[in-house]
Amino acid sequence: MPRAESRGYEAIEEEENLKLFASSRLAQVLGRILVLASVLVFSGPNVQKQFSVYSKAANYSVAVVERNGTDYLGLLELLEPLGAVSARQNGDHWKLRYNDVESEFVRGQTRTRIRGNDFNLPGSFVLENGRGLVPILSLSTLLPQILGGPMTLNLFGRRLFIGDVAIHFTAVVVKTDPPTLVMNFGNPVNPMIATEPGKLEMVFTHDAVVAPGSQTLTFDSQAIPSATFEEGNGVAKLMVTTTVPAMASFSNDGRTITVTPASTPLVAAHAPPSGPPALPATVPPVVASRQPGAPVRQRVFAVIDPAHGGDERGAALTDQLQEKDVTLAFARQLRELLGGRGLSAWLERDGDLTLSLDQRAAMSNASGAALYIAVHATSESNGVRLYTALLPSGGPNQGWFLDWDTAQTAFEGLSRTTAASVASGLESQQVSVRNLSAPLRPLNNVVTAAFAIEIGPESDDITQLSSPQYQERLAEAVVSGVAEVRDQLEARRK
């Protein structure tokens, strides 16, 4: 080939290469803009990233931090609940000991040594104030070496299952009138439940619920046509699509969740600042027996809420006597005496359990009880005080959904009537009593007649608060007052 002709081909080739390079650069830039736009559009509100671990020892979540655009986890926080773990920093070197396994990491390095063997991490190790951070992507390499044993790591969903802990479930629509969706889980579950028009969402944070055979379940029902399972950011979500407002109830010790079309107004779940109310596994069964074609709802007459409990002890009545213990003892007396008059009652906590105020309200609302009684105790004043809700400023109700802060509004009158009747019962027993309103949650969130009772000692002898005789005397008077308005309470219950 002549030299000039050869130079001509080279020039054309170079020009084509330049064009190719330019177009590929353009494609890259466009691609980046597209990715950025997608991130901006689909990112939504800034949600704290988390990674959840499910094991026989504990189910927990660890915060995910971002370093250099990569998601990292604190290795010590991740392993601490699982076994004996310690870490020691020596300059840029960070030595970790988990049970008998030694590992060594170096700041800024991808190379690490576990059980004497070298491994490469997909990102460099970060050491911050003695805290060792590893990229999430490295967990599939690190954890089998450190923990040993079988495990399932869902990197996309940021969920780690150690051992045989996965909870499987089945879902079927029972064609009753109205049709109900019955979900049976392998173990008790405690999801957060939120409802909005056309959707009922269950979020499983600390339950190792795993996907059924298919991500989308379809049902032969117009009211409940489908359900979708999703995993992401350390949680599993089950979204039930509904064409009518629906509510969920627990039974079988938290192993069964039943989604039923609601027959009464729902309380908006968006309002509580801490998120939608979660129903703990201790929720008593509201479905006593369920057979296809013959659903039977057995509802309690009264829900008794012994205030405080668990981490939250309430007032320190004496050095030894805590409010949470007195409220529980008194609530048990109330339950027994109500039961003696044929008025079924259950306790929101029947032990030393921590419950949030939103949970307490949600449990009462889900029960469909005719009466909610919150129990408090004090050493600050004598006798008994009865409180009905002092409602705060609230937002408007939206269709089927009541404003959470003022959900009690429709029952204010009946609550006051009930409290007045109880006051009469106490006065007839020569107990000093006062009827007041109070900004005391969750009275304002409860969708039934509701009052709180605060019991104090008759005299300055505070130990009287723990006296079964004194408690029984007060409880009998309360129950006689409640029994007086039983018919009115039942009439308002739908």
């Binding site: 309430g314 004090t378 004043s381 705060p392 007041l436 309103s437 109070a438 005391l440």
Partner: protein, 199 residues
């Protein structure tokens, strides 16, 4: 003749004593400098300027669990917001006094009162106020009603009240009375009427 090892020991001890003296002297100077440079974080009560005016304070009485209006003369500045702060500080002073009818925890203070939207007042309490407050429904609601009623009686056109602690929202005052809500003054005034009645 003095043995040589004794001389050495005395010299060594002397050097050590001298060294220790120098070290202690330097440490003393450093502590003095540190103390001088540490800012005093104790809040200083702002002197109220303005002529004395007659106001109505709603004072809580634990004895009987009541709220009673009480006339008082206090110096009030001209600004609406400053007046609101001085009113509540005068009320808290009563509760912190020796013959307090409704004892608050030591160090309880009103950090500020802010008139936000038309009709909305935000009361900011300090952490000691909430942390040192006694726990109980009645005792907590007496405090809340006392603060709201005092403002409502002396500052016209207040319709809503929100209470913060150290500038942040808190679930309750001391385990009972809800602090997450915005309170309608008209509803709190109904409570004030209940609390003013003899039990």
């Amino acid at each position: 003749m003095i043995p040589r090892h004794l001389i050495i020991a005395v010299v060594v001890l002397g050097v050590m004593a001298l060294g220790m003296s120098v070290y202690v002297w330097r440490m003393r100077g450093r502590v003095a400098r540190t103390e001088a440079s540490t800012p005093n974080t104790q809040p200083v009560a702002r002197p109220a300027a303005g002529p004395s005016e007659q106001v109505t304070l709603y004072v809580a009485y634990d004895e009987g669990g009541m709220l009673r209006p009480q006339a008082a003369r206090i110096p009030l500045p001209s600004g609406r917001q400053e007046r609101a702060e001085e009113l509540l500080r005068a009320l808290v002073d009563i509760y912190l006094g020796k013959s307090s009818p409704h004892v608050l925890g030591t160090g309880s203070e009103i950090r500020g009162v802010y008139l936000a939207d038309p009709g909305l007042v935000v009361i900011d309490l300090n952490a000691a106020f909430a942390n040192g407050h006694r726990s109980g429904v009645l005792v907590e609601e007496l405090t809340l009603a006392s603060l709201v009623a005092t403002l409502s009686a002396n500052i016209p056109a207040i319709t809503q009240v929100k209470i913060l602690v150290d500038g942040k929202e808190r679930e309750s005052l001391a385990g009972h009375v809800d602090l997450t809500a915005f309170y309608d003054v008209s509803r709190v005034n109904q409570l004030v009427t209940q609390l003013a009645a003899e039990p």
